[in-house]
Assembly symmetry: C2
């Protein structure tokens, strides 16, 4: 609203793609929703909460999200080691955007009735 220089179809698409890159990754959303609401979890708690994920994947996704500035990593120098993960303010700020997406997805069935395309439950055909 304030200082959008020029926004061609391509540049707009690029910006959205860049934003979506933060969410790409098989487990990032799952992790995100585990940490939403200011929750703080240990590595092992995340493992337990997401049984299907491997340690490698969990770390890989957490590291990327940390680099992206979405999650914060808090190391307690102890034995055995203890590391906590939570969302940054910016990570928390994803909520409304994801809500908007969900609302859009929810509107699919309503519109598709009049649209004569893309049945909610595709027939066997």
């Amino acid at each position: 609203m304030s200082k959008e220089e020029e926004l061609t179809p391509s540049s707009a698409a690029d910006r959205v793609e860049e934003a979506l890159k933060f969410l790409e990754g098989r487990w990032k959303l799952v992790i995100l929703f585990r940490l939403f609401g200011g929750r703080v979890l240990h590595f092992s708690e995340l493992e337990k909460a997401i049984p299907a994920i491997s340690q490698k994947m969990l770390i890989q996704q957490l590291r990327q999200m940390e680099e992206d500035g979405i999650v914060r990593r808090i190391v307690h120098h102890q034995v055995p080691p203890k590391v906590e993960y939570c969302l940054t303010d910016w990570g928390q700020a994803l909520c409304p955007a994801l809500d908007a997406l969900l609302q859009w997805a929810a509107a699919r069935e309503l519109i598709s009735e009049t649209d004569a395309k893309a049945p909610p439950v595709p027939s066997i055909s």
Copy 2:
């Protein structure tokens, strides 16, 4: 707001993932932004508007978006053939959701200053 049964972290993540699947694909956003605003374009016009895309990719993405109910395909039985593409109402409805994403992405720099993490312009290290 109305009838959300239960929304665990996993189910919420699943729903967002499903919504994001509609946007996944190297060229879907580019196509989307070319068609936003009620524009109607021929296949060949899309090709020209997006020089980097191959015909196969363009068709593949369009077909998926058509199946998803995002774009509408209008065939004029002529020779040479003429096919037009435009967005469905639901496709147009993506605008606010993408806006929310863009706003979130734009907020990154503002917050990361106080966050001591993820510098907007990473140094050489």
